[in-house]
């Protein structure tokens, strides 16, 4: 989707109302409540901040476009989120008209620090309604507020709602229907809206005149935190949870993924049977159809991870997880929230990179995205097991040790790279860790399902297009040039094969021959593809997968030295051979700069690592 297609033309457009509020004020819940599934997600031009626009149906054919702005504590443009928010509200955002009105959502249980945002917003002079959310919590914890007094004090309409329960939204809807009047901006505070102590003092005086009685502390949150943030239990519970998430993505998604694969391959062979045997059929089935399959197959993993992240974020546990993991990750320059993407990357980098969106700091998010592909993903396992079975002699426990060592190697590479990045190109003025611990809440079914729909759309539409393109290109490379009779080339004679042979001198120092070279080219599509490519090149004719692997093992033992096998394993540990990951990173970072840099870096590391592994193993085995 291009930026302009979601930009709203100034003429004949529906009213645009911006939703703004501090983090944890329930802004997105209210947005979802008002718009439901009528949402569009895009990125703001040039930045990684997501733009959510949705249409609210207000009855009698009245509708209004709502814009969910990132959660901010102030309008001072310091972070990327604050800059986007302030640009939008000032009408400085390209492709987006200045909003006609503002809904300012505040947490009513926490008016003291939430009200400080009112002053800079009212200073904008846009028609504004202050929406006090979490009315249910306020009431149940014994707090109260006089709405009329607050409204008189602020000079704008005020509503008390519970977005989770859908209570009190009628006032909000009638405000949205307009026509709204701008706030009477008279109070002295507005002379100095960027001065924090000033805003806070003003907020304190407003809450006092509005008869605000702060609610008692959330008792359940305190009780839960006594365990969940316990010195021993806290980290133990988090570790168990991370293992559960990893296992669910690794194994829990398997049945669904097998089902998707089966559906794609059986529908593919059915289609194949219906079509005449031409090259076009090959392009359609082996290029496009398989390409689509390679995208859709990730969906179960992405949905499972999104569901976990949704539950963790909506319940309030995410802040605690980040807190517990922060110290360990801070030592390599990452922050606590990176723990979820990094653990997910042990199953698959694609959902992990999607999951990195929850890290607010742009540099920390980029660093997390850049290192996640080093973690051993499930696509590396078929390659590792093949090579380990062929080249690590002896007992099963020794082979298991080698595999465990590879997990460590991946993690070490990830953390070393994070450190390198954060001390060089992603050096930040050390984005300080300031994290609010919101009270625990029950996640709602509604909000969780909306998240899943949202992630599915983003993934299929945005990443899908690129993956499809790359799949077709790789198919062409393995098929062209055509034989004189017009049929596809043997893989050794194809463009991919030619490249494999051309790069043979370059990969010779690693101990690889041209066959491995071809495998490296085709495995750019996905790592495990090298297994089937090598099967084809070594001319193994069998339909039984185990038999293929068995004979492939002996072929490799004959064709590769132990040094070359070690080099190949190390190469796979470090190289970015996964077009899906590249495509997702391209989408998540908003350009080719980061994926190209990452690909080059990982290739350089893979090459030098493989060379060292080859030399070292050869020296050890000859000694």
């Amino acid at each position: 989707m291009t930026a302009t297609s979601t930009g709203l033309p100034a003429a004949s457009r529906t009213r645009l109302v911006a939703l703004i509020g501090p983090p944890n004020s329930g802004k997105t819940t209210l947005f979802n409540r008002l718009t439901g599934l009528r949402q569009k997600v895009a990125n703001y031009p040039g930045v990684t901040v997501e733009r959510h626009v949705g249409r609210a149906q207000l009855g009698e054919q009245a509708e209004v476009d709502l814009l969910d702005l990132p959660g901010v504590y102030s309008l001072h443009p310091r972070t990327e989120d604050e800059k986007v928010t302030s640009d939008v509200l000032l009408g400085k955002m390209p492709d987006l008209a200045r909003p006609d009105a503002v809904l300012l959502i505040l947490d009513s249980t926490n008016l003291g620090h939430n009200l400080a945002l009112v002053a800079p917003i009212l200073a904008l002079g846009l028609p504004t309604m202050v929406v006090l959310n979490m009315a249910d919590d306020l009431g149940s914890r014994g707090g109260s507020i006089e709405l009329a007094a607050l409204s008189a004090e602020l000079g704008v309409p005020v509503a008390l709602v519970s977005a989770v329960q859908g209570v009190g939204l009628d006032t909000v809807r009638s405000f949205l229907r307009g026509p709204a009047v701008a706030a009477r901006v008279t109070f002295p505070i507005l002379q100095n809206v960027q001065d924090a102590p000033h805003c806070r003092r003003w907020a304190a005086s407003v809450t006092a005149s509005a008869g605000y009685r702060a609610p008692s502390p959330p008792a359940w949150t305190r009780r839960l935190d006594a365990t969940l943030l316990h010195r021993v239990w806290g980290p133990a519970i988090l570790t168990l949870l991370l293992i559960a998430i990893w296992w669910m993505i690794f194994a829990g998604a398997k049945p669904a993924m097998d089902l998707v694969e089966l559906a794609i391959s059986s529908s593919g062979s059915w289609l194949k049977g219906q079509l005449p045997d031409t090259l076009w059929r090959g392009l359609l089935i082996d290029g496009v159809w398989a390409g689509v399959g390679s995208i859709v197959v990730f969906l179960p993993q992405i949905l499972i991870l999104s569901l976990f992240i949704g539950i963790l974020e909506d319940s309030g546990y995410m802040a605690r997880a980040a807190l517990i993991a922060d110290r360990a990750l801070a030592s390599v320059g990452l922050q606590g929230k990176a723990v979820i993407p990094l653990v997910s990357a042990l199953a698959c980098a694609v959902p992990a990179i999607m999951g990195a969106r929850m890290i607010e700091s742009k540099r920390d998010r980029l660093a997390t995205i850049m290192v996640a592909p080093f973690m051993v993903c499930s696509a590396r396992l078929p390659v590792y097991t093949l090579l380990i079975a062929a080249f690590v002699p002896g007992a099963a426990w020794m082979q298991a040790m080698v595999l465990a060592g590879l997990y460590v190697l991946g993690a070490v590479a990830a953390f070393a790279t994070a450190r390198l990045l954060k001390s060089t190109i992603l050096k930040s003025e050390r984005m300080p860790f300031v994290l609010e611990m919101p009270p625990y809440r029950w996640p709602t079914f509604r909000s969780l399902s909306l998240r899943l729909v949202d992630r599915t759309r983003v993934f299929l539409r945005r990443a899908g297009t690129i993956i499809l393109g790359v799949a077709v290109v790789l198919w062409l490379m393995a098929t062209l040039p055509l034989k004189p009779d017009g049929s596809a080339a043997e893989v050794g004679e194809s463009i991919a094969g030619t490249i494999g042979k051309t790069i043979e001198p370059a990969i010779r120092p690693l101990g690889f021959n041209w066959k491995i070279g071809v495998g490296l080219i085709t495995s750019l599509a996905a790592r495990e593809v090298i297994v089937s490519t090598l099967g084809t090149i070594y001319g193994i004719e069998s339909t039984d997968e185990d038999a293929i692997k068995e004979s492939l093992r002996s072929e490799l033992q004959r064709d590769l030295t132990p040094g070359a096998a070690a080099a190949l394993i190390v190469f796979f540990a470090f190289a970015m051979q996964c077009m899906s990951t590249v495509a997702v990173i391209r989408r998540e970072t908003g350009g080719w700069k980061w994926p190209v840099l990452q690909f080059t870096y990982m290739l350089a590391l893979a090459y030098s690592g493989a060379w060292v592994a080859n030399q070292l193993t050869s020296w050890l085995t000859s000694a």
């Binding site: 003291g112 924090a196 943030l229 922060d326 300031v434 611990m437």
Partner: protein, 80 residues
């Protein structure tokens, strides 16, 4: 508790569940502003809430909210 030498007490020195009154924020303006908006204002009480795992970062309670800060930040929040 006593002041050691010239070093003023900071919120990092607060014992678990101890409350102190903030004197000043010795931080760059951007971060100081952010913390003040969250309630870390001179003259306001700050309570060390959780004796969090490992002690860093640690959760502080100000004005009804709980905010986690790294030790390096807490060391710059001076107490009266």
């Amino acid at each position: 508790m006593q002041l050691s030498g010239n070093n003023a007490r900071t919120v990092a020195d607060l014992a678990c569940h101890e409350t102190g009154v903030l004197l000043s924020l010795d931080l760059e303006p951007a971060l100081a502003d952010r913390l003040m908006l969250l309630g870390f204002l001179p003259g306001e009480p700050v309570e060390a809430a959780q004796c969090a795992p490992g002690g860093d970062p640690r959760v502080y309670r100000v004005d009804g909210t709980e905010i986690a800060l790294r030790r390096e930040t807490a060391l710059r929040l001076l107490l009266k």
